[in-house]
Amino acid sequence: MKTAFLINDTILFVPEQYSLYRRENYPAGRITLHAPASDCLLLLIQHAQQPVSQKMLFEQVWQKRGTVVSTNTLYQSIASVRKGLKATGLAEEAILTLPKQGFKCVAQITPGELQDFILTSSENAEPLTEPTHRPAKALRRPVIKPLRGLRPRSRLSLLLAIVLVLIVGEYHWLRASPSPLYAEYAYAGKVENCQVWSSWSGTQYSIAVFDKLRQRSPISCTAESVAYLTINRLQQGTSILLCDKDIAQRGTQCRSWFYREEGNEK
């Protein structure tokens, strides 16, 4: 059985081990004090809410071991105690300095057995005391974590990217009229410098029609010229569109020939 003291319901002090623990973390997070500091704390706790003189501390901590120390050693030991309490998470000032008198422990002290103070896992889940800064942070984290998957800035960036893609798509969609007509034409062959593309799939017939039409009105091609021949037996007329390059290219220049017979007259 180990004697222990619960300080402000949050810190466990085990004199036998010269140790301080945060109760909810026990046995993790152990802070070990050197022996004189631990004895100073024990003496202050045993006289909690009462002034403890420097003389008493010197006598009970050092002189009984046959040691004589300076006042600074006493102050250093008290400083170690304060540092240890702070390291275990005690935010409040537990030990007050009483000028020209000594020290006073003002924390709420509960004496008992160590086992009595150890929390079970279920008790650990519910804080027994008012939340301090650290538990508050611990409570906040689970709320934040699910949102960390996509932070506001990332979400906005993603949204911007989508909007940009939509704008580009919108632009092309708006610009698009029916599919380019000549994209469906078949290559019929080369006649002199003319690369002939035809609405008719038969290459020989297309070339024959192209030659016949050229006889009616001369068509001269340069090396890159592309001629689009439309043979339309059911509708009005036949046409040839002669372009200086592929019509799908920007800046293409074209000239057309439109052939009609008297029988086509409306």
Binding site: P152, R153, L156, S157, L159, L160, V163, L164, L166, I167, E170, Y171, L174, R175, A176, S177, P178, S179, P180, L181, Y182, L213, R216, S217, Y228, T230, N232, Q235, Q236, G237, T238, S239, L241, C243, I247, A248, Q249, R250, G251, T252, Q253, C254, R255, S256, W257, F258, Y259, R260, E261, E262, N264, E265, K266
Partner: protein, 155 residues
């Protein structure tokens, strides 16, 4: 800093949405506001006419101007010209044009090219074209399912 970044991204998003809406408006506006030029040779068994045509579309009204030369089978050459004001509108891929004023020279309708649609020489006559955007700089005008001329956008 982070707050500033988020605010910046939000402002950027608003700007992009405005650009998107403006772009849609501009592209639609462009469809009814442009000018183009075409060269065509009309060939019949009576003769041939070479034409340079200018179209100007502005909202729901437009104008057409042409200059050309008609050559008969016997070799006679006649200069031709025309100027037409018209109303127009879009119906899907089609462009409907109704003539207001025409100024065909020679004056005798159909004397030069007998198969010309009456839109080109009479008032309040209609013509329907199918417009196909072949590339960024030109439309293909089709008449009765036959590609007739390619009009290069000039403005």
């Amino acid at each position: 800093m982070r707050s500033k970044n988020v605010r910046f991204l939000l402002n950027l998003l608003i700007v992009l949405v405005v650009i998107s809406v403006a772009l849609a408006g501009y592209v639609n506006w462009q469809k009814n506001h442009f000018s183009c030029e075409a060269q065509i040779t009309l060939v019949t068994d009576r003769g041939t006419e070479d034409l340079i045509m200018h179209f100007h579309f502005s909202g729901d009204t437009g104008s057409y101007e042409s200059k050309g030369k008609y050559t008969t089978r016997s070799g006679n050459e006649i200069s031709t010209s025309n100027k037409i004001d018209f109303n127009f509108w879009r119906e899907g891929d089609s462009l409907m044009m109704i003539s207001n004023e025409t100024n065909a020279i020679p004056k005798t309708a159909g004397s030069v090219y007998p198969y010309t649609p009456d839109f080109f020489y009479s008032r309040e006559r209609g013509i329907r074209w199918t417009l196909t955007r072949e590339n960024a700089t030109g439309y293909l005008f089709s008449y009765d399912d036959t590609p007739t001329f390619y009009c290069s956008i000039t403005r």
